[in-house]
Symmetry: C2
């Protein structure tokens, strides 16, 4: 039997009592013939607490220092879980990201995994141990500690599942699985029993916070079956897989929303070739993810260019964009942070053009103005007023009858 990889999130490990419950769950799922690797996040609010401490001492803490600081959160939880497992009579060992062989690039605070050397994990598994790995962290070629950014522990888990050729990667969190919409906003939201990597990728990227898109992407590339489920009950969760058995359903599968959106607009941009690249190249180099980009039709050789970034990046992005805007003789740069994205996601949507129209109608029926629109093969996203998000999610959930079971 192949290796089982489990990942437990911060809320599942928030107290000594919960760590004990996780240990019991690990033991219960550990069969004699199946080695097990457990990846853990930092306990509860540890990461936020460490960030607050750092910000008391430095307005903008150095990235390298912050990464080494934050990595301690996962190191603490992996040692505590390993101790607990040993105390319960099961041989276990904790490994830091570096010890687990997670090699990354040097982009502090959002490092990418370059390679994984599984030899230490394999040695410990061969010795009959449960291996507990600190998620979210790795080591770069300078022997410095890096962190993987948002969703980092999920990424660690899927990367280990891929390199260890696991049968299954279980992501334990505080929700039962992937829902048709956020149940806190739409009470009639329904849990999906399965979803394809591509659909999950779009849902995750566009705001369904169950799992980070990076980890789903990695799962998709290496064909790792992922189950998202709750550590607080025995419900079966949602299977994220390659969808070999799925027909193209031509159906909306879920509604995502994301309020972590800031819009930057460069006004009065001379419409010359190379302008877009002169703006977006430096942002990419600063590791700022630019999402939706919209350029107005040029009037008299001048255009407005809008794009979105995450709210945490907006100040950094403005500092990069403002001098460039002056250089290219744009009229002005403005930013707004009162926006949100709502998205409908579903494989096969691109073959049925009626979906966009239904989405726009559902929003306009509720008097919700659309600021910007962007689409992918399996997703349509609208930028709207952040105050109207709940309304929009509920309206779309109803319009696409997502409260009704599949098939």
């Amino acid at each position: 039997m192949g290796i089982l990889v489990q990942k437990y999130g911060g809320s599942s490990l928030a107290s000594a009592e919960r760590i004990r419950a996780v240990a019991e769950r690990v033991i219960a799922s550990h069969r004699a013939d199946q080695p097990i690797v457990v990846v853990v996040s930092a306990m509860g609010d540890t990461t936020d607490d460490l960030i607050k401490l750092a910000q008391q001492l430095a307005d903008e803490p150095d990235d390298r220092e912050l990464d080494l600081l934050l990595s301690t959160g996962e190191t603490i939880s992996c040692t505590l879980l390993a101790m607990t497992l040993r105390h319960m009579g099961h041989d276990a060992i904790s490994l830091t990201g570096a010890q687990a062989g997670i090699k990354t690039d040097t982009s502090y605070s959002r490092a990418r995994i370059v390679s994984v050397d599984p030899s230490r994990i394999q040695r410990e598994l061969a010795a009959g141990r449960i291996v507990v790995v600190a998620g979210f962290q790795g080591i770069n070629e300078d022997f410095d500690i890096t962190t993987l950014g948002r969703g980092g522990s999920d990424t660690t888990a899927v990367a280990l599942a891929a390199i260890l050729k696991s049968d299954l990667c279980e992501i334990y969190t505080d929700v039962d699985g992937v829902y048709t919409a956020d149940p806190r906003i739409e009470p009639r939201a329904r849990k999906l029993t399965e979803i394809s990597y591509e659909e999950m990728l779009e849902l995750a990227h566009y705001g369904a916070r169950v799992m980070h898109s990076r980890a789903v992407e990695l799962g998709s590339v290496y064909g790792v079956p992922i189950v998202v489920r709750s550590s607080f009950n025995q419900n079966p969760g949602t299977l994220i897989h390659g969808g070999m058995s799925m027909e193209v359903r031509n159906k909306v599968r879920g509604i995502a929303h994301d309020t972590d959106v800031a819009k930057i607009t460069v006004l009065g941009v001379p419409d010359r070739p190379g302008i877009a690249s002169s703006l977006f190249q430096p942002l990419a180099e600063a590791n700022i993810n630019v999402d939706v980009i919209v350029q107005n039709t040029s009037i008299h050789g001048v255009t407005d260019l809008s794009f979105t970034v995450s709210r945490t990046d907006v100040n950094r992005a403005m500092r990069i964009v403002e001098p460039i805007a002056r250089e290219i003789q744009a009229a002005d740069v403005v930013s707004a942070s009162d926006l949100a994205k709502v998205s409908i996601v579903g494989t096969g949507m691109q073959h049925a053009p009626g979906y966009a129209a239904r989405m726009f109608k559902a929003l306009s029926d509720r008097q919700i103005n659309i600021e910007m629109i962007t689409t992918s093969e399996i997703r349509i996203t609208c930028l709207i007023d952040a105050a109207r998000v709940a309304d929009a999610v509920q309206g779309l959930h109803e319009a696409f009858r997502l409260d009704q079971a599949d098939l």
Copy 2:
């Protein structure tokens, strides 16, 4: 000018405000022509808090896991200090014990430094950076994190000072320096301006908690001048040095006391060769420090053998000694934890036999019973009732006129 090594203890780093104060002190002592390496302990009660958390989950947390857990305390404080220095406009970098090249053996929780590879520190110093090193931790040949046990951060600082051939190792703590006795017990205790390694070693080993004996020993072996001083004021502190300029003073220099004492007595031991080694060899192998050893005169081929260990080791020691006692057909094994050690320390004492007599008289004048006696070349130690420690220290301080200035 040589490299300056400074070490700051946990109480000096207990809050964001104090870390800021330490950063200011580091900057103030950093001259352009003198590279500086700063070694830090964990903030305030961090280590104790982590131990408590571990003990909630496992009665006897695994040593390897506990070491990795505890190492996070120093990692946190070194990153915070480095961030603060950078925020104040000084280039700084934090290094874990592993990154600083501290290689140890595999004795978790009390690892010994095997070697130090200073290349990373030297590279960072050459780049003009203030280097902040996490004290108390190292890495063993299995790439696992170890901690150095009590006084570990002092040991890190002196080891780095030795390998970097520093002019001076400053140990910043919450007291002004080395006193003739603990000022909390003897208000007339006087700060010493200088003391020899040997005297400090005896004082430290026998309970003066200003600095751990391991670090002093290392300083002595490598000839590193050490200054112990307070991080809360500008007082000059106490210089610990090789004493080249000191004459043999034939004088008691200080009184140490230690209440971390447990006595184990093996009763009715058959007086055969090899008995002592059969008892103490297994204790040494278990890394338990045995201190005072006293064996009664043998009567009818049977003797009682008493020795002391630290209170944290007493249960472990009893579990080792009890089966051996049965094997060698001893009558019984008993332990007691209500004892304390008081010591007088001073170079040249061995040439003046009157000191022992004066010590015993001072104790008997106060009706304090002596349980065991042990001596070194520059120290006389008496085991007494723990409840009488303050009395004993005050009596000895008075008897040897330690409130009066040297010379």
